[in-house]
């Protein structure tokens, strides 16, 4: 029990063995039970509703949507998780993502480059803008000691205003709608989709591979590099990090820059794979979804992948509920309950495991126990 609850919550302490699997599964079952109760209380058929959701969610078309949503969620949660691992609460992922997508879309629409360079340029611009916006909070914290929680929340609001202003400056009417958006990105800048799921003509975002690569990069950076070591050390004990020669202020700025750079990527699959233009329909709140999923996945790239898929499944299958005259908000309740119960389940499983492990050790030592005791007595 020597690690604190927050350490475990934010994944700074490893949970090993079956705990990391059993806990979320139990939590999801529990969330299912709670949702059933809510459904029953509101007078809806429990089993029917759940089977309808699963049926709908497992259709090929839905599977593509789930993968696409999950790609976006995954990038968002990774951006949040990087900060969490260092004890930095980057609440501003949402603003970073929206501003980055807007500027990148405007740049992408304004230039034409040969195929591989055009999307690369757009992605780089997005990462730079996201990093810069998050970097403001990093610099404020390092130089002035401003809490990043406060500054990133304020930067979110500023990003909304700034975004609306910039969009008004750059926008053209979107063909076939009343919306306005940035000029569309030419074909050279688009990333073609993939027909991954048989039976559906819908395409999976080509940038799903970017998300996978970012996940692998996250793991490699944190666990095998000096930078990652310094980052984790700072997250676990800032005082020890300082005494060991880690430049904590610089780490704060770097971590915010990287987190922001990753936040910049969130809008890319959608921008380069489907919309080709930034308009007002870019989904707000993705950064906050990322916080929930980062918690679900314990800030670990594999866990987050599962969390993102689950979240996307719930979102997509919620669409069918309206047809059955069931409020889709039931899914929001379910998502909330899942996050809460996962957090609780991890904690319970952790405690149970400590006890079980001690019992196991004691069984193994039971046979040997008599020998050292005699040894002690004769000495």
């Amino acid at each position: 029990m020597s690690s604190t609850f927050t350490d475990r919550l934010l994944g700074r302490v490893r949970l090993s063995g079956w705990v990391s699997l059993a806990a979320p599964i139990l939590a999801i079952l529990f969330a299912g039970v709670v949702t059933s109760i809510v459904l029953a209380l509101t007078g809806n058929p429990v089993l029917d509703t759940l089977t309808t959701m699963v049926d709908y969610g497992s259709q090929p078309r839905s599977l593509v949507l789930i993968l696409n949503n999950a790609t976006t969620y995954y990038l968002s949660a990774l951006a949040v998780a990087l900060g969490f691992r260092m004890n930095l609460f980057n609440i501003g992922v949402d603003g970073q993502y929206r501003l980055a997508a807007l500027v990148a879309a405007a740049v992408g629409g304004a230039v034409t480059l040969p195929a591989p360079f055009h999307p690369i340029l757009i992605i780089l611009v997005a990462m730079l803008v996201g990093a810069a916006w998050a970097g403001i909070a990093g610099v404020l914290k390092a130089t002035r000691g401003v809490s990043e929680v406060i500054s990133t929340i304020m930067l979110n609001t500023i990003a909304t205003g700034l975004g609306a202003y910039l969009l008004a400056q750059w926008a053209v009417p979107v063909a076939g709608s009343n919306n306005i958006g940035t000029p569309p990105i030419a074909a050279s800048g688009q990333v073609p989709g993939l027909t991954l799921v048989p039976g559906s003509s819908l395409k999976v975002f080509g940038l799903i591979f970017l998300a996978v690569a970012v996940g692998i990069g996250f793991h490699v950076l944190l666990n095998t590099t000096r930078f990652g070591f310094d980052l984790r050390a700072t997250g676990r004990s800032e005082a020890a990090a300082v005494a060991s020669g880690v430049n904590v202020k610089r780490m704060v700025v770097y971590a915010m820059l990287i987190s922001g750079g990753m936040a910049g990527l969130i809008g890319m699959p959608q921008l380069l794979g489907a919309s080709y233009s930034y308009s007002l329909d870019f989904q707000p709140g993705l950064g906050f979804t990322g916080i929930a999923i980062a918690l679900l996945g314990r800030n670990n790239p594999v866990g987050i992948a599962f969390g993102a898929l689950l979240w996307a499944f719930l979102d997509v299958s919620a669409n069918i509920l309206g047809l059955h005259k069931i409020s889709p908000e039931i899914v929001t309740i379910m998502q909330g309950v899942i996050v809460l119960s996962v957090v609780i389940a991890y904690e319970l499983a952790h405690r149970y495991r400590s006890v079980a492990e001690q019992k196991r050790v004691s069984r193994e030592l039971a046979g040997a126990a008599s020998t050292p005791q005699k040894e002690g007595a004769t000495a």
Partner: protein, 526 residues
């Protein structure tokens, strides 16, 4: 005295039964067993403490002393065994339960809030209420005064904790426990941070408490003081009680042999290895603004290759600041030169890279990441050393192999290098840190209390390592509260008082008494 069961045979050699009157038993632990993953911390321990006694518990690092006390204080649940307080069986789920049963514990690391007054610290968590809402400070102040007077603690309730020394802090901790109504007091290594005269004061206080009928259980690695104050001694080895001894009938040497089976170490080191090559030169080091009281005031010192410079002083007189300034953790004015190169503007990492090893005084806050495995802790502070990294990458295999080497060379008692640092006993954590900081052939070692909390056997081993390194040219800045260690290990001694170096001594001729009085600033006025 209480020699029952399997212990009977072995205690006869060490103790002489002095059982004349059947006195009351305050605490009785029977068959306590506590297992952690990979280790049995307590194995079938039995302990009987008489009411009104000072009962000492001794044993080598990792023997299970702290664990046993945490069990008695409700911080850990025993796997087996029974606890009886004043004759009746009890089960504690939290320290709160233990407190209600009249048991209080003072941990080795003080847990006082610096920016609160003594009064606020004492009532924190059990605030007296007036009419259900308002804090009743007057009543609390009165009660604190009463307790302080009754036991001769001499604590002023209205000073800020940051303004008082460690000795007083310790008394505040004790007062805090008494305030909550404790009649049985557990002190885990209470003298580790104290200088000799403070130790004497503490023992006077303890005697005062005992006269009022309070029972005291304390853990210490300083066998001389154990023999001096204890009414009874229990020796724990490898998690089990191996002897109950009567302090009047054993010597420190016999006690050490019971504990570790090895002889008492002596830090004697007379043959000098001091060269005339300057390793560290500190000039005019100052912390604190003009006008106000400076925590460090114009400190100048030189350490040569192969020299150990000891700094004596009551804790809180600027030692911590001096160390942190040399390490580049705390900004300061003045110049610092390492082997002829000025390092005043260097970062901490660069200083460490240049060959400064650092054993911090607070191992939990500054020396380790408790939630990381041992091998990751090997890398901490040595993020540029060959064995630990290859360019940008962590050299996992190298770091693990070198951790294994430290564990073996420094006798760190652990089930493996993958366990978290928090699972090691205090002394074993210290050994790991010492081993780490002596790795990579440092030029200069800043050692703050290098053997604090370490048992006598391990202490001798660490002293040996230091001597060998010194003979090979290591310069050491040694800060210690242990005067024997200072006198025995140093080639030259300086005394720090209120941030200035006020006196210096040749350790070959100085007596602990002279040193002690210089440390309290007595020399200054004269």
């Amino acid at each position: 005295m209480f020699t029952t069961g399997p212990l009977g045979t072995l205690t006869q050699e060490a103790s002489i039964s002095t059982e004349t009157t059947v006195s009351e038993v305050a605490v009785q632990l029977e068959g306590i067993t506590k297992r952690f993953p990979g280790v049995v911390a307590n194995r079938d321990i039995s302990l009987t403490v008489q009411k009104g006694h000072i009962h000492a518990i001794v044993g080598e690092n990792g023997a299970g002393k702290s664990t046993l006390m945490k069990i008695l204080y409700g911080m850990q649940r025993p796997d087996e065994g029974e606890i009886r307080v004043n004759g009746s069986p009890v089960t504690f789920h939290t320290p709160g339960d233990a407190i209600s049963a009249g048991i209080g514990m003072v941990h080795q690391h003080f847990m006082l809030a610096d920016n609160l007054t003594v009064l606020e610290n004492v009532i924190l968590g059990s605030e007296p209420r007036k009419g259900g809402l308002a804090l009743d400070f007057a009543a609390a102040r009165k009660k604190i005064k009463e307790i302080s007077d009754a036991y001769g603690l001499g604590v002023d309730p209205d000073v800020l904790v940051e303004d008082i020394g460690v000795g007083t802090r310790q008394r505040v901790e004790i007062l805090k426990v008494l305030y909550r109504g404790a009649r049985i007091l557990i002190l885990d290594e209470p003298t580790a941070v104290l200088v000799p005269h403070e130790v004497d004061e503490l023992f006077e206080n303890l005697h005062g408490l005992v006269r009022e009928g309070i029972t005291i259980i304390f853990i210490s690695h300083h066998l001389d003081e154990v023999l001096k104050v204890a009414d009874a001694i229990t020796v724990i080895r490898r998690g089990t009680t191996v002897a109950e001894v009567d302090p009047a009938s054993v010597t420190a040497r016999q006690l050490a042999e019971l504990m570790v089976g090895s002889e008492l170490p002596s830090p004697e080191t007379r043959e000098s290895t001091v060269t005339d090559v300057v390793a560290l030169q500190v000039t005019g080091l100052t912390i604190g603004a003009e006008g106000e009281r400076r925590v460090l005031d114009d400190v100048t010192l030189t350490i040569h290759k192969g020299e150990v410079l000891g700094i004596a002083g009551v804790e809180g007189n600027g030692q911590a600041e001096l160390v942190e300034a040399i390490m580049g953790i705390r900004p300061s004015a003045g110049t610092i030169t390492l082997a002829g190169e000025e390092i005043t503007t260097w970062t901490t990492l660069r200083r460490r890279e240049a060959g400064i090893g650092y054993i911090p005084e607070d191992r939990h806050r500054h020396g380790l990441i408790l939630e990381a495995p041992l091998w990751e802790n090997r890398i901490l502070g040595h993020m540029k050393e060959k064995v630990n990294v290859r360019g940008w990458w962590i050299n996992r295999r190298g770091a693990r192999a070198d951790t294994q080497r430290i564990v073996e060379q420094y006798d760190v008692r652990t089930p493996g290098i993958d366990v978290l640092a928090s699972a090691l006993s205090g002394g074993n954590q210290q050994k790991l840190i010492v081993g780490r900081e002596m790795s990579g052939e440092p030029k200069l070692l800043i050692a703050a209390h290098p053997t604090r909390g370490v048992d006598v056997g391990a202490q001798a081993a660490i002293w040996d390592h230091l001597r060998t390194a010194r003979a090979a040219g290591l310069a050491v800045l040694l800060i210690s509260a242990d005067l024997d260690e200072l006198i025995g290990l140093s080639d030259w001694l300086k005394v720090i008082h209120r941030g200035s170096l006020v006196a210096e001594f040749d350790p070959a001729t100085v007596t602990p008494e002279q040193l002690g009085s210089a440390m309290t600033g007595a020399g200054e006025e004269a």
